[in-house]
């Protein structure tokens, strides 16, 4: 990435972090009346994965969709309004946090059933291939999704037809409370790619430069007609699986492990790196914080001031 792109990547990560923190802060007001799966700690994966994508490329996200949606350029106001259940939300209040999409930005869908999204991304890639377009699709999935049959069905089919799709695994080591080591034998998740004969790469998911570089290679390959890639980005979710709180007290993971990952905060790491490179200084960072905060405040204020959907519309749009 050039200097501008790296600054943008930093801004995008910081923005996602502040959005998620604001949701967490205000969640107890009980006005956001839907489950929220926050992506604090995983910002570099989402931003690095979306950085090389074009507007017409599409992504498909899962239950933890906020970071993907924002990183791909999904409209913040529509997302916050959706979480508040308002008519101006991206789903008109029908989906909530787990169903974010933005057609303009190429966020095709978010689906909160683990692995259910993966074949949708393969289908989008098949559509690109059938139309002779040089676009690609990205399936965002977690480590848990690699245990589902449809993950393997999708890799096999995409590899067979050399479809322009990237399977992007955010390995945050836990499926809700169950650690990876209790769900899979000791092996590298990226090795699944060998079974399905497609290229793979594992990257430090908290280093946005590395994630972007890996994604760039995969995207170039897809555009060139050389087929799919499996990328695995190791990262860590700081908060509970679903909700605004820390939950290390439950005992499913250790405070020590959490602190080790927190030391490797993707945003702090990148801020230091950009500062060392002279790309950002403290004043610029303050200005950035300020502009992000005011954008977020505006989105929240707007959402709360927006009307709820008309109850009379509840049975509309069952059929096209």
């Amino acid at each position: 990435m050039n200097t501008t792109q790296r600054f943008e990547a930093y801004r995008a990560m910081l923005r996602i972090r502040r959005v998620e923190e604001t949701i967490a802060d205000r969640y107890s007001e009980q006005e956001m009346r839907c489950p929220v799966h926050l992506s604090i700690g995983q910002e570099a994966a989402a931003v690095g994965a979306c950085a090389p994508l074009r507007k017409q490329d599409v992504i498909v996200s899962n239950h933890r969709s906020h970071s993907h949606y924002l990183a791909k350029g999904g409209a913040l106001k529509s997302m916050i309004a959706e979480i508040y259940g308002r008519a101006s939300g991206c789903c008109g209040g029908r989906g909530g946090s787990m169903h974010l999409f933005d057609n303009e930005a190429g966020v095709l869908a978010s689906v909160p059933i683990v692995a259910s999204t993966i074949p949708l991304a393969v289908g989008a890639a098949m559509a690109f291939q059938q139309r002779g377009q040089d676009s690609l699709s990205v399936a965002f999935l977690g480590d848990g999704a690699t245990e589902e049959g449809v993950f393997h069905e999708s890799l096999n089919l995409a590899s067979l037809h050399r479809l322009p799709v990237v399977f992007f695994v955010e390995n945050n080591l836990y499926s809700v409370y169950t650690p990876l080591r209790e769900r899979q034998p000791d092996r590298d998740i990226a090795n699944y790619a060998l079974a399905h004969s497609l290229p793979c790469e594992s990257v430090d998911g908290n280093d946005v430069d590395l994630v972007e570089a890996a994604m760039k290679k995969a995207a170039d390959r897809a555009r060139a007609g050389d087929g799919p890639t499996l990328l695995v980005a190791d990262t860590y979710r700081w908060l509970e699986h679903c909700g605004p709180n820390f939950d290390n007290d439950l005992g499913y993971r250790t405070e020590e492990e959490y602190l080790q990952w927190r030391e490797r905060c993707p945003i702090d790491l990148y801020r230091s790196r950009l500062a060392e490179g002279g790309i950002i200084d403290a004043d610029q960072d303050r200005l950035l914080e300020k502009s992000i905060q005011s954008e977020i405040l505006e989105a929240f204020d707007l959402a709360k001031a927006s009307p709820f959907p008309d109850p009379l519309t509840v049975s509309q749009n069952v059929y096209a």
């Binding site: 029908r94 259910s116 074949p119 949708l120 289908g123 069905e153």
Partner: protein, 364 residues
């Protein structure tokens, strides 16, 4: 309504389906077929034969054995504006894809508040006969009919096999197209070219005043035999082929029951919790005051399909069962009912129970 002979031809249901697919692929480059065996030499009971040669592997997509995967792929492509036709050679294989059908296909339009449409057709074949047993002969329309957002079609005639399939491909919703294997054999006069049968609800196939009968899919072909036999006894039934299970539109059926006061429903699948149960419920809600007798239901008994022909003999509802039930509802004399039933039995006698009846030659 008779159409000029020059624009029709005699076809089987399977030929009608193949014709529809060929026409749709030709007409719209967004249409593609995807499934296990779509490109193989047998071509899904002859319904896709030769299409691979004409349209190539990107539009007649042979797949790995991955029902949930390729159904999801089709849904993703449809979300992008393609118009896939998914094919599962038995309904039971689609059970592996229920997650994609129920969670994604059926919800996409609603959850996006209309921003996405999902122009998808899922062809499912219902098996019967030749000892196929419990896992190759289930008629599971209730599972799909239960889900808002899906359309569920059950053609019974060659005309509808072609015309409803073309309508389904034109439709911007996910359409489950349930083809009974024995409806593939049914013969009829079918309009040539781009022929659309509207997917608007039940169709009256026999007009009468004595009793209203609603049947679907292959059971409609048995019901027509019953209608003929009863007619010879002077009892005319008002017979509807359901055609469209979802969205269920029973206005004409309710209007009919207002006249006849009597209702018999005949399901292709199990009687308990079958579409007939819903039809009875809606008719009772709609015109309770017009009913002269309790509505009756016929359908499969409450156990899986056995394989052996000795066990299967009594399993399926037959034309004579329909004639007996409809005749009794119509308060036809015992002698007339017996004559109608034994005539139907005699016609069937020479014919094995586990292959389609040769009398189904149409036109219907």
């Amino acid at each position: 309504m008779p159409k000029p002979a020059s624009t029709e031809r005699q076809q089987s249901g399977a030929e009608g389906i193949r014709d529809a697919l060929d026409i749709a692929l030709e007409k719209n480059t967004s249409v593609f077929l995807i499934g296990e065996g779509v490109a193989d030499p047998k071509g899904i009971f002859g319904t896709t034969t030769g299409l691979i040669d004409k349209y190539g592997p990107q539009r007649v997509v042979e797949t790995p054995i991955a029902e949930n995967g390729f159904t999801g792929v089709a849904i993703g492509a449809a979300m992008m504006g393609q118009r896939p036709v998914v094919i599962h050679q038995r309904v039971e294989f689609a059970l592996l894809a229920m997650e994609q059908i129920v969670n994604n296909a059926a919800k996409t339009h609603y959850v996006s508040d209309g921003a996405h449409s999902l122009p998808l057709v899922v062809r499912l074949v219902v098996g019967r006969g030749w000892g196929q047993g419990p896992l190759h002969s289930q008629s599971l329309e209730t599972l799909f009919g239960y889900v808002p957002g899906l359309k569920v079609l059950m053609p019974a005639t060659a005309d509808d096999c072609k015309g409803m399939l073309l309508s389904a491909i034109e439709d911007n919703n996910p359409v489950i197209f349930l083809e009974h294997r024995w409806v593939h054999y049914v013969q009829g006069r079918v309009p040539t070219g781009y022929h659309l049968s509207p997917i608007d609800g039940p169709k009256r196939l026999w007009r009468g005043e004595k009793v209203t009968v609603v049947s679907s899919s292959y059971m409609t072909l048995e019901a027509i035999q019953a209608a003929r036999a009863l007619s010879e006894e002077g009892c005319e039934i008002d017979l509807f082929d359901l055609r469209v299970l979802r969205p269920l539109k029973l206005d004409d059926v309710i209007e009919s029951v207002r006249r006849t006061g009597r209702l018999l429903v005949v399901d292709t699948g199990w009687k308990i919790l079958g579409p007939g149960a819903e039809i009875v419920a809606q008719v009772v809600e709609g015109c309770f005051e017009a009913l002269k007798a309790p509505p009756q239901r016929l359908g499969l008994p409450d156990h899986p399909t056995p394989s052996s022909k000795s066990l299967a003999a009594a399993f399926y509802v037959r034309a004579e069962d329909i004639a007996i039930a409809a005749g009794a509802l119509a308060e036809l004399s015992r002698g007339s009912i017996e004559r109608a039933a034994s005539k139907l039995s005699a016609e069937r006698q020479s014919h094995p129970i586990d292959v389609p009846h040769p009398s189904f030659q149409g036109p219907f």
